[in-house]
C-alpha cells in the first residue's frame, strides 16, 4: 500500500538535519535501500531544504512544506517554499551556478540532487515560491 507524510517546518538551518532524517526514515517504507542510496536521499533533501532557506527566504522567516510518498520500490519527495522563487530555473540548475558567490556557495545544490536522485523536477514562480519534486527508485526496480 502507498504511504505518505506531510510536514511543515520553519525555514531554519537547524531544521535541515531534522528534515533529511525524517525523509530517510520514511524512505524505509519503500523497501530495503542500501546505505549508499539512503545517504543519497539524505543529501538531496539537505540540498533542497538548504536552497529554500538560503535562496527562497534569504535566511529570513518562512515555512517549508516537506512531503513524501512511497510506493513499493520508490520514494517521491516534494519540498516547497513560498519565498522569492527562481526567475530562470534552467540557469539555476547549471553546475556551479550561484547567486551568492560571496558567501562560498559552491553552486552544486541542483547538481547533487540530479546526481543522487533519479528524477528531479523544479517548478518556480517568482514572488510565489519554488517546488522541487525528486523521485528515487530502489536499484532493483530501475533494472526492470
Amino acid at each position: 500500500m502507498d504511504n505518505w507524510f506531510e510536514l511543515r517546518i520553519p525555514a531554519l538551518s537547524q531544521n535541515v538535519q531534522f528534515a533529511r532524517a525524517v525523509v530517510a526514515q520514511f524512505a524505509l517504507e519503500a523497501g530495503d535501500w542500501s546505505l549508499v542510496e539512503l545517504n543519497e536521499i539524505r543529501t538531496a533533501v539537505s540540498e533542497a531544504v538548504t536552497n529554500a532557506i538560503i535562496h527562497g527566504y534569504h535566511e529570513g522567516s518562512g515555512d517549508i512544506l516537506l512531503r513524501g510518498m512511497v510506493s513499493p520500490g520508490s520514494i517521491l519527495v516534494v519540498i516547497s517554499d513560498f519565498g522569492v522563487g527562481i526567475i530562470d530555473v534552467e540557469e539555476a540548475r547549471q553546475p556551479l551556478f550561484t547567486t551568492r558567490p560571496d558567501e562560498e556557495r559552491c553552486g552544486l545544490g541542483f547538481t547533487v540532487m540530479e546526481s543522487f536522485m533519479d528524477e528531479v523536477e523544479v517548478e518556480s514562480t517568482p514572488g510565489q515560491g519554488t517546488i522541487v519534486k525528486m523521485t528515487k527508485y530502489l536499484s532493483f526496480s530501475v533494472k526492470q
Binding site: V16, R20, L35, I53, E104, C106, F116
Partner: protein
Amino acid sequence: MEIELKYRGNVLVVTLKGELDQHSADRFRDNVEKELDKEIAMHVLFNLSDLTFMDSSGLGVILGRYRRVNSAGGRMAACFVHPSVERLYNMAGLPRIIPSYDSEVHALAALKG
C-alpha cells in the same frame, strides 16, 4: 557537529565529527579562519573519519579555505573520507586538489614532503 583543532608542526589538523551542513558550516568556517589568521599553519589536513554527513554547504566552506591556503602557497589533504561523504567528495572533484590518504601519518608526511 564537533570540531577539533590541533597543530602538527606547520600543519593545522581539523577533525570533524558528526554532520556538516548549512547549520554547522558557519562555525566550521569561523573556527578554521581564526586559526589561519594566527599564521602558524602553512598547510591544512582534514580528518573526516567521523564525519558521517556532508552536503554542498560543507563543500563550499572547504573550497573557500582551500582558496585561502592555496593562494598563500600551502596545500591541503584529507584522511579517512567516510563512505557517506565519499561520493560527494569525488563528484565535486576534491581528490584532485585535496588528496585523501588512509591515515593521518601518511597525510602529514605528504604535506610536509
